[in-house]
């Protein structure tokens, strides 16, 4: 069992990309706060702005596992899942506080249903961190964040433009598919958590050759 100490928590905390998270969070809060200044348009703009805010913070979270010292610390006995879990645990309260602030910035009468939009945010954040975990497992990159951020932004655009209507995720509150969309968001969240956990595990065997029989 790995030994968690206060020193470990402080040391890992110092390696977090706090500047990038701060910039992403600030941009997100700015987006969320814009709904206060949009007058009558705020009625239909509040939800898209909140979603843009979620995307902005998620783009900060993809940098969570960037670690320039990754190769130097590749073979320490503190297992990678523990180090990843610690980083995630340290950022969860920050994300929760940020999300609360973002929600409060949206005027009460324009605010979408709290539980549902929180589910969207949780799924987006989990997707971001899971993508980072998979990138760490599947590559030797010390800083996969920039590529992941570009990928996340592109994916968001593609979902917005081409996602099939019958599996809609990004629907307005008054849309009759709102409830079904949030069932799907729950699936996305669960899937992201599973992928993230699998991505965090350090394999004892490479699975590449098993996928290529005869090699």
């Amino acid at each position: 069992m790995p030994r968690l100490s206060g020193d470990l928590i402080v040391a890992v905390c110092r390696t977090l990309p706090l500047g990038l998270l701060g910039a992403a969070g600030g941009t997100g809060l700015l987006m969320a706060g814009l709904s206060r200044t949009t007058g009558e348009a705020g009625e239909w703009l509040a939800l898209p702005l909140l979603r843009v805010a979620i995307l902005a913070f998620a783009m900060g979270l993809v940098f969570l596992l960037d670690d320039p010292a990754r190769h130097t610390t590749a073979t320490v006995p503190t297992p990678r899942p523990v180090r990843i879990a610690l980083r995630v645990a340290l950022v969860v309260p920050v994300a929760a506080a940020w999300w609360t602030a973002a929600l409060l910035l949206v005027p009460r009468d324009l605010r979408p249903p709290g539980a549902d939009i929180t589910l969207e945010a949780a799924a987006a954040f989990a997707l971001a961190v899971s993508a980072a975990a998979v990138a760490v497992r599947r590559s030797d990159l010390t800083r996969p964040g920039p590529r992941l951020a570009a990928g996340l932004l592109t994916s968001a655009m593609l979902v917005l433009l081409f996602w099939p209507g019958r599996w809609a995720l990004l629907v307005p509150v008054e849309d009759e598919r709102w409830a079904a969309a949030h069932d799907r968001w729950a699936v996305v969240l669960a899937g992201a958590v599973v992928v993230g956990v699998l991505g965090a595990v350090e394999p004892l065997r490479r699975w590449y050759w098993r996928m290529v029989p005869g090699r």
Binding site: S5, D7, L8, P68, A69, A74, T75, T78, P203
Partner: protein, 286 residues
């Protein structure tokens, strides 16, 4: 004597490239040099033995522990120091803070004892005077020594060093050799390098790799002896030589099968290494 590392049949592929091909070896105390050209599989072998990369096939033990199980890998990592080819750092950390960070990750929980150990390794690698300096402000050679300090912290029984002298000037390289020689006392060190002088000066054993396979395993003297009677001097480039180059005196130094009456020269470790590679190249081509 029980070997520190015992490996058999290690194989690993990257796509269609065989990076390791049925590698078996045994390492015991002292410094063992790992020579080979680019793409020989040196770094892959080091990463596998350091548990940074799992092999496709084969098995090995380090200090009696099998890294093929989660528990075994953790036990190996508790006894291992690893200096990667391109060590990275948190540049805002000081040298002390960074080595301390690695010591924390190496499960050294007693702060006072850990700080003593960090100071000890920084002294050992000659960074006592700059331990409070941020890594971003250190020279390349000093950073390399910070990484060596991080590998040495916790007094590991098995030390894996991947080309630690690359990019260092001759003076820095000399100092580094001194550190590595010291590190090899009482522990097993596996040192990958392109520098045959490093091996000649530091190592009691040497492995030569090419094409993912170990082509030679023995002492530096044995590798040198391989070239005895196969190095000669000539005034013109000898087309029959397997390798040859013009020396500073204007004559040509040739390695291979000498013609009758050739002016034979005393071989060096590099000659033995080149001859081994030439043999491996012919084998691969066949």
């Amino acid at each position: 004597m029980t070997p520190t590392v015992s490996a058999s049949g290690l194989s690993l592929r990257y796509g269609g490239t065989r990076a390791l091909d049925d590698v078996s070896l045994r390492l015991s105390g002292g410094v063992t040099g790992l020579l080979g050209p680019n793409g020989a599989g040196k770094t892959t072998l080091l990463r596998v033995l350091a548990t940074a990369l799992p092999a496709d096939r084969g098995a090995f033990t380090v200090l009696g522990h099998d890294p093929g199980t989660a528990r075994g890998r953790q036990e190996v990592r508790r006894r291992l120091g690893y200096l990667p080819q391109t060590p990275g750092f948190h540049p805002d950390f000081t040298a002390f803070e960074f080595v301390d960070y690695v010591a924390i990750l190496k499960e050294m929980t007693d702060r006072a004892a850990r700080h003593r150990e960090v100071r000890r390794v920084l002294d050992e690698v000659g960074l006592a005077d700059v331990r409070g300096k941020r890594i971003r402000k250190l020279s390349g050679g000093m950073r390399q020594r910070v990484a060596l300090g991080a590998a040495l912290v916790g007094d590991p029984g098995f030390l894996v060093l991947d080309e630690p002298t690359v990019g260092l000037d001759p003076e820095q390289r000399m100092r580094f050799r001194e550190f590595i020689a010291g590190a090899g006392e009482g522990r097993t060190v596996l040192l990958s390098t392109h520098q045959t002088e490093d091996v000649a000066m530091l190592c009691h054993r040497v492995l030569v790799m090419a094409g993912g396979r170990v082509r030679f395993e023995g002492t530096p003297a044995e590798l040198t002896a391989r070239a005895a009677g196969h190095v000669w001097s000539s005034t013109e480039r000898d087309p029959g030589a397997k390798a040859g180059w013009r020396t500073g005196t204007g004559s040509f130094r040739n390695v291979g099968d000498p013609p009758a009456g050739a002016d034979l020269l005393e071989p060096t470790l590099e000659d033995g290494y080149l001859l081994t590679l030439e043999g491996a190249g012919a084998e691969v081509a066949a």
